[in-house]
Each structure stands twice: as C-alpha cells, then as structure tokens.
C-alpha cells in the first residue's frame, strides 16, 4: 500500500536554525573572510554573497579513528598489471597510501583542507555591518512628523460604502430583527391562542365581535412582522480608518565631494567606496534611500552619479559652496520632518583660506540642527589644514552627530567606516 503526499508547499529552510547556529559558532572566522572580501572587492560588487573558507581542522567533529601506521591490508579494484608478490613504492610518499585504500571505511579521512561554503547576500551584509549602528537611528521623533499612514481602528457607524464591514453589518441586522420581532411574535401568539380558545367555545357562547377583533389584530400583527426591515441603514457598520503619524522611513544621503584638480582618480575611488558603504548601510535601515550627489570646486553643482565620480574638473576649492547648496536642496526638496538626512563629505582637505570658517558657521548654524548625521573623510597622507581644524570645532559642538576621520589608502576605508558607525554601547 502506498500513498503520495505533496509537501512542496511546506516550509523550506528547515535547516535555517542549524545554519544560523553554524554561522554564529564560527563568527570570528567568517568575519575575517568578510572583511578581507570587503577590502578586496570593488564595492559595486557588494550586493552578492561571498564564498567563505574555514580551515577544516577548526570545524572538524572529532571521533576516534585509526591514524596512519601499523600494518593493514587494503582491497582495491582495477588491477591491471600487478601480480602476487609485486612490491610497490608508497604513493605520495610516507603514509599517504591511506587515501587510496580507505574504501568506504572513512570519508572523513581524506577531507579537504578547507571547508568552503557560500554566504547569501543577506548573510554577507549582516556580517559586513555586524556591530555597526546607524547614528541616531531612533527614527525621527513623532512630534515633528508630517507623515501619516491610515491604520485600521475598529468599526464605526458611519463611513463610505466602500468600507462596509459586511459581517458586522449583517450581525447587527440579525440582532435588530430578533429584537424587533420578538414582542410582535409574542402578541401574535397570544392573539392566535385567544382566537383558538374563542373558536373552541360552544357556538352559543361565542362572541362574534371578539372573534373579528382578534382576526383583525392578527392581520395587523402579521403585517407589522413583515414590515420589520431585513437590513436598515441603522445596522450598517464601517471599517474605521484613522491616520496615525508614522516614523519616517525615508532617508536621503548627500554625497559631497571635492573635484578640484588636487583630487586624483585614486582619491575619488576611495571616496566612492566610502559613499557606497554608507549607501548600503542606509539601505538596510530605511525603506527608501535617495541619493543626491553634490560636487564642487569653486562652485557647487548637483550632478548624477556618473558625472559625480568620473568627470574631471580643475581649479580651486570652496567647500562652503557645496554646503550651502546642500542646505538649499534640503529646504526645497527634503523637509526634515519627513526625511532622515545624512551627509557624507569627502575631500583632500584643501580649501580656500577664508572659506573654512564660513563652512564651520554654515554647519553649526544652519545644517547640523537639521541633519541626522554628518561624516567627513579626509583622503590625504599629509598634515591637516584649516578645514580639518574648523571641523574639529563642529565635532566638539555636535559630538553625537558629527564624525570625521582620515583615510590614507583604500584598505583604510572599511576600518574607518566601522569606527565611524561603531555601536555605541555607552551613551544611550
């Protein structure tokens, strides 16, 4: 006797728990691989999984086994030229013969040296961002929120026909019908009984007027019973929706970069990686992330991504031009009540002499109060200049929301990024 069961609709990923346990157990190994991968890969490449290898000995499950040595006999198939008594050199030298002769005896004996497996994209990014926290991730406080979302809130007596709750309405109607008909029914029953009692009487004793009275009464009651409406506007119930203020799940990230002559393509590549890391990071935390690219030399301009990273400009540098452009864009397009605002700035530290102070004032007075976070990376092996010093003043003013670091080469990006967004254990 046999029967078939179609299990395809059942949950897959039954091993998800076990898989997760494995990843947790070898967290440090995996993290090392992931960090290497991040440094090695181009960051546009981040959106895929990663092959991870762990030395087999680190994850072996030991059991008692025979080691090499001693005397044993092995039976193998495929003899071509050997005769009894032939002597052979040990293959591979030493005790390597074991590998060939184990037969079905041990499939662990000749395991690979590396246990390799693939992390899914999600798992990979989890490891990349492991231990990182988005600065001021507590979504924008509810008070200054303009964004609302309708949510279900029970049922109400009025509303539009499209939102009629049929089940509740019918139930109300049913209850009302029972309630309204009960007294009529009772009266009807009594009248009928009375009529019957009257009719059973001896014809001599009957009261004809009473009988016709009762018949009229019955007729009247039956009409009333019929006239109880099946459903009444009074019964209707509507699904009630109310508008609830929503924490904003949208973020906009401003990428600000110096494209003056002193920024080489290498500088830009480093900056690009930094921006992309930040973008990926935001993308995991907000439903929607918009990007605004602002580049500047002596004047700032909003551009698309391609132009941002790859077109060359020359000339001097006025950083404040970019900051005021960002401020304009925020005012026009991204009211802070609805958007979480992030600014990431990359530069080689050059700036027009007097401009650094302007930048500082602009930041402290106008920009910082509206931003979620501001990061500044300076890509230079050289000593800091005026801009850095002024920014230090801003950082002192907004220690929670302003971060700045120096990057010398590509390999620094990831550690710097991690440091910038390190989960704050103390503080809040």
């Amino acid at each position: 006797m046999s029967y078939f069961i179609d299990r395809r609709a059942n949950a897959k990923h039954k091993s998800a728990v076990n898989r997760q346990r494995f990843l947790d157990r070898y967290r440090t190994h995996i993290k090392r691989s992931v960090e290497e991968a991040v440094n090695r890969r181009s960051i546009t490449d981040m959106e895929r999984g990663e092959k991870v290898s762990i030395p087999s000995r680190d994850i072996s499950e030991p059991v008692f086994q025979h080691g090499p040595g001693g005397k044993r006999s092995i039976v193998t198939p495929g003899n071509k030229e050997f005769s009894e008594g032939d002597r052979l050199r040990r293959p591979g030298g030493g005790s390597g013969a074991g590998g060939a002769g184990e037969g079905g005896a041990s499939d662990q004996g000749e395991g690979m040296d590396e246990f390799a497996f693939t992390l899914s994209r999600e798992e990979f990014l989890d490891f990349v961002f492991d231990g990182l926290e988005l600065p001021n991730l507590e979504r924008k406080a509810l008070v200054d929120l303009d964004e609302v979302r309708p949510v279900r809130a029970g049922v109400s007596r009025d509303g539009v026909p499209a939102r009629i709750n049929i089940v509740r309405s019918m139930r109300e109607a049913y209850a009302r019908r029972i309630a309204m008909r009960a007294p009529i029914r009772r009266a009807l029953r009594e009248a009928r009984e009375a009529l019957e009692a009257e009719e059973r009487k001896d014809p001599v004793l009957r009261n004809p007027s009473r009988i016709s009275e009762l018949k009229e009464e019955i007729e009247r009651l039956e009409k009333r019973l019929e006239s109880v409406p099946y459903i009444d506007t009074y019964d209707l119930r509507y699904n009630n929706l109310i508008n609830q203020p929503q924490p904003s799940s949208k973020a906009v990230m401003f990428c600000v970069m110096d494209v003056s002559g002193s920024m080489t393509q290498a500088h830009k590549d480093i900056a690009k990686r930094f921006f992309l890391l930040l973008y990926l990071f935001l993308e995991r935390n907000y439903e929607k992330v918009e990007l605004v690219f602002v580049r500047h030399h002596t004047a700032a301009k909003e551009v698309d991504e391609e132009e941002f990273f790859y077109s060359r400009e020359t000339g001097g540098t006025i950083v404040s031009s970019a900051l005021s452009l960002v401020d304009d864009i925020v005012t026009k397009r991204y009211p802070p009540g609805q958007w979480n605002l992030y600014v990431a700035q990359a530069s080689d530290g050059d700036n027009w002499d007097d401009d650094s102070v302007t930048c500082r004032d602009l930041l402290i007075k106008k920009l910082m109060p509206r931003l979620q976070y501001f990061t500044y990376v300076e890509i230079t092996p050289h000593a800091h200049q005026a801009l850095w010093e002024e920014y230090e003043g801003v950082a002192a003013e907004f220690p929670e929301r302003f971060a700045m670091r120096q990057i010398v080469e590509a390999g620094d990006i990831y550690p710097v990024f991690r440091e910038l967004f390190k989960r704050r254990i103390t503080g809040n």
């Binding site: 006797m1 046999s2 029967y3 078939f4 069961i5 179609d6 299990r7 395809r8 059942n10 897959k12 039954k14 091993s15 728990v17 076990n18 898989r19 997760q20 346990r21 494995f22 990843l23 947790d24 157990r25 072996s60 499950e61 030991p62 059991v63 008692f64 086994q65 025979h66 080691g67 090499p68 040595g69 001693g70 005397k71 044993r72 006999s73 092995i74 039976v75 193998t76 198939p77 495929g78 003899n79 071509k80 050997f82 005769s83 009894e84 002597r87 052979l88 050199r89 040990r90 005790s95 013969a97 074991g98 060939a100 002769g101 037969g103 079905g104 041990s106 246990f115 497996f117 693939t118």
Partner: protein, 516 residues
C-alpha cells in the same frame, strides 16, 4: 512481442502517472514476493531535499550547528553540480518515507520509487540488523520527543550549554551502541513518561555509587589477607566496572558523577539515535546492492511489459550505469569502493550462479549454486551484514570482473606488497581481506571503558585494544577532552597490544606538556 502502451511518455510527470507507475511497480514487486512496509512517498522541492540531507534524512531533528555545517556542504556541492540529489533518501520507518524531488524527470521518479520504496524498504523490513536494532514504528515518535526535549533544555539551560553537551556526545556517538543487546521499543508518549521516572531513579543510583568514603565492613577488615600497600583493604573492592564496557555513552549516562539529570537524558538521546543508525553503517554494500538490483530488475520488467517507452528506458540505463560505475584505483575519479557497484555485482552474480552455475560455482558454492534464486536472495538479505555477506557471497567471478587485488601496507616495510590478486591463489585472501575491510570492529578502533576509579581521584581509564600496531589518529585528544567534559574528572586512555600498554593519552594534559 508486446505492443508498447506506455503509461506516460516524455519527461514530465504528474500525480496520476506516478500513482499508476507506483501501482505497476507494486504489482511486480509483489510478484517477486518483496515484503515491504507501506510507502509514504513525499514530493518535495530542491531546498527541502537539501534540508533533508542535512538532517541525515530525519524528518524531524533537534537543532545543532553540525547539521548547519552539513547543510552548507550539501548546498555547496549541489550548486557546483558535484552531486545529484536524487537517489538516496528513504527513512527506515513504518510507513517507510521516501522523497521524490519535484524537478526530477519522470524516469527519475519511477527509478527512485523502485529503488527506495521497494528496494530499501524491503531491506529495512527484512534484514536482521534492522529488525533487531531499530523500531520502524516508533522512530518518528522518538525523534519528536528528542527534538522537544532538547528545545526545552535550550530554553532552560541556554543554547551554549546544550550545544557543548551535544558536541561531546557526538564525538562519542559511534561508541554509544550496545552491540549485543536488543534495545526495547518505545514511543514518544511513553518516553516522556518514563523520562521523568528515569531522571529520579538515575540520579539516586549515581548518588549511591559515589556516596561517601567507602566503609569496608568490619569482618572484611578482620579476614583481610591484607597486602602491604593497602592494609585496610580500601582498594579491595575490585575494579569498577567489573567488565570492560563497550558502550561509552551508556556508561557515562549511568555513571558520570556530576551530570545533571537533563544532561543524562541528552546523552541518552544521542545514544538512542546512534543505535538507530548503527545497522545502516554495517549494511551499506548490501542495502545499496539490494536496492540497485531491484530497481534494475523492476525497471526492466516495466519495459518488457511495454509500460515505459524506449526513451525512458535509455535514460534509465544511462543513469543506472553511472550509479554502478566503479573507477579503477588509479583513476582520478577513484574514491574508494563504490558500494552500489560492489553490492549490485554480488547480487547479480548470485542470481546468475543460482540459475546458470558453472563448474567453478559448484565448487565454491555447493549449496547455493543451482538453488532457487529468489529464496537464496531472501536468505542473504535477511541474515547478513556487509562483513559476513562478502565473506559468504563474493564469488571469484566478481573478483575477476572488478579486478580486485589486495595490498599490504606495513609501516615497517619500505614498500607496499601486492599480497593477492584475482587468481586461484588469491580469491580466498581477497575475499577475506575485503570482508575485514567492512567489519565495523576493524574499521573503528576498539575502545572500551576499563575502569573508573571510584575510590580515589575518580579518574576514568579507557583501553584501546590495538590491532596490527595501528595507532589512533590525532583526533584522540579532542575526543578525550570531550569525554573529560562529560565525566568531570581526569580521563586516561591506554593503547594496549598483546597485553602491553604501548601508548598513553590523558586529559587534562600533564602540566609539562602544557608548558611545552
């Protein structure tokens, strides 16, 4: 010649055609008197199949990282295309559960049904090891119990604590088997009820064993033929345990001094599951050979009766040929002896020598040659395991066909020696050696509990009876470290050859080794 009226053509399948094929296979199997459990055939997706592989095919299992590792390995292999996920998943239970993968072709589904639902299934039901060691009716219940119990422990004692305990138990699970006693059948409800009782009883027993400083009775003191070292007879109680114990996990469960009751229960669960898999480890060649023989026979019968078309049977033959392929030892694809190939070759030859015996067969198998093949098959399937099956039924013809030869590897000799090949002088020796190669007692080091020092430092001593000077692999240290975690006191392991201790291991390591 039969006119071909195939049940279905092409490679697509649906439930109607599967049901019809299943019915035909059942009819043919019945003709061959294959006795099976009812079949529960489950259609699953690729991911579900990988899940099933990762949990050794158990439909329910407790959680442990090692299954996750298994899953990742399977997934990796599957993605690279190194491994087909088709043949092999059938669970020794009643009803017998077999998996068909959604994306398989019609041929593959029919083949898997013949192979698993009638081949393996009848083997599970008939073979003496499975009959003795496993209880097909209760295994699913027990798995459910085990999963629930371990999940509860995780909640109560933390995932890490349970994980470490399971790690330690897994390291010893091959030594968690009673080789000579038959376990009693149990179900989940029964098990839950008994588990409570057991907890109390067990703990009480352990307490007695470790109770206090032993007090020798007074008359023992008086009559003592006291030896100089031990005038008070404190060590006169003899060794504990009195006989060496082969079931390490059982001994731990019953005697480890410091384990909490729930920990003993977890040890027991691992031990019970190891016991369930014990027959499979010893009947690989037979079981696969049997199932392969039957799928081959049944598929050919389907073709003979015109129930499948030429396309399907050609596809089948290609797949079957790949399965029973045995690369030679010097081939880059060589990966040990293929149990499908060896088992199929022996069974096929067994049928031949029943039906058309040669002179040689009559000499080698005087009782079997010319007998009713179906009865001989039944006898062979029921009463043997790989070791004895090869010893009994490996014929000279199969040795010649596979060109088996025997090499002696002695680390005291510089060269390997070809000790026997497929000729008159060699058949017996090759057969003997191959049989030994499949003996569990030779494959796995023979290690037993020798003594527990219950009157002194509570250390535990194990003995490894060394065979032909074959030492233990280096994994011995992590394993005795796990054993030490379970036992709670120092663990010693002695390798003994010819009653002489040749090597000692211990955990914790002695101080000087640790500093070095």
């Amino acid at each position: 010649m039969t006119r071909r009226k195939p049940i279905a053509t092409g490679s697509d399948w649906n439930f109607e055609t599967l049901t019809e094929f299943e019915r035909e296979i059942a009819r043919l199997a019945d003709e061959y008197r294959l006795d099976t459990y009812p079949n529960q055939i489950e259609i699953i997706t690729t991911e579900q199949m990988m899940d099933a592989y990762a949990s050794v095919g158990m439909p329910v299992g407790y959680h442990h990282w090692s299954f996750g590792k298994q899953f990742l390995a399977v997934e990796q292999a599957y993605r690279r295309g190194q491994m087909g996920l088709a043949y092999e998943l059938v669970i020794n239970s009643d009803p017998c559960i077999a998996y068909l993968m959604e994306e398989n072709t019609l041929m593959m589904q029919v083949l898997v049904m013949a192979h698993a639902c009638y081949g393996h299934n009848s083997f599970f039901k008939g073979n003496y090891l499975f009959r003795t060691w496993t209880d097909a009716t209760s295994i699913i219940d027990y798995l459910v119990f085990a999963r629930k119990y371990i999940a509860e422990c995780e909640q109560r004692h933390g995932v890490t604590a349970v994980e470490q305990l399971l790690d330690a138990c897994h390291a010893l699970q091959n030594y968690g088997v009673d080789r000579y006693k038959r376990p009693s059948p149990i179900s989940a409800a029964e098990e839950s009820r008994r588990q409570k009782e057991r907890e109390e009883y067990l703990q009480a027993q352990v307490n007695t064993l470790w109770r206090t400083i032993p007090t020798p009775s007074s008359h023992e003191l008086l009559t003592s033929d006291a030896d100089e070292e031990d005038p008070l007879g404190l060590h006169a109680g003899g060794r504990y345990p009195a006989e060496p114990q082969e079931n390490l996990l059982y001994f731990i469960e019953k005697n480890a001094p410091l384990l909490a009751p729930w920990q003993r229960e977890v040890v027991r669960i691992v031990r019970k599951l190891a016991q369930y898999f014990y027959p499979q480890r010893q009947t690989q060649v037979m079981n696969e050979g049997w199932a392969t023989f039957w799928h081959y026979t049944l598929m050919n019968r389907l073709y003979d009766e015109g129930l499948v078309d030429e396309g399907l049977i050609l596809e089948f033959l290609q797949s079957h040929t790949a399965v029973v392929n045995q690369p030679a030892f010097d081939s880059p694809w060589y990966n040990g002896i293929n149990p499908y190939a060896l088992g199929f070759a022996i069974f096929t030859d067994l049928k031949r020598l029943c039906e058309n015996p040669t002179e040689e067969d009559r000499e080698w198998f005087p009782d079997t040659a010319g007998s009713d093949w179906r009865e001989t098959f039944e006898f062979a399937m029921r009463n043997f395991k790989d070791e004895s099956f090869i010893q009994q039924f490996l014929s000279p013809k199969v040795i010649r066909d596979l060109k088996l030869f025997m090499v002696v590897d002695d680390d005291q000799e510089e060269m390997l020696e070809v000790a026997a090949i497929h000729n008159e002088r060699g058949y017996h020796r090759v057969r003997e050696a191959l049989s030994t190669q499949y003996a569990l007692s030779v494959r796995e080091p023979n290690i037993q509990i020798y003594s527990a020092n219950i009157r002194g430092d509570r250390s535990l001593t194990l003995r490894h009876v060394q065979d032909s000077r074959r030492p233990l692999a280096r994994s011995v240290y992590p394993v005795i470290r796990h054993l030490h975690q379970l036992w709670g006191f120092p663990v010693h392991l002695e390798s003994v050859e010819d009653d002489e201790v040749v090597r000692r291991y211990q955990w914790p390591l002695p101080d000087e080794a640790r500093q070095a």
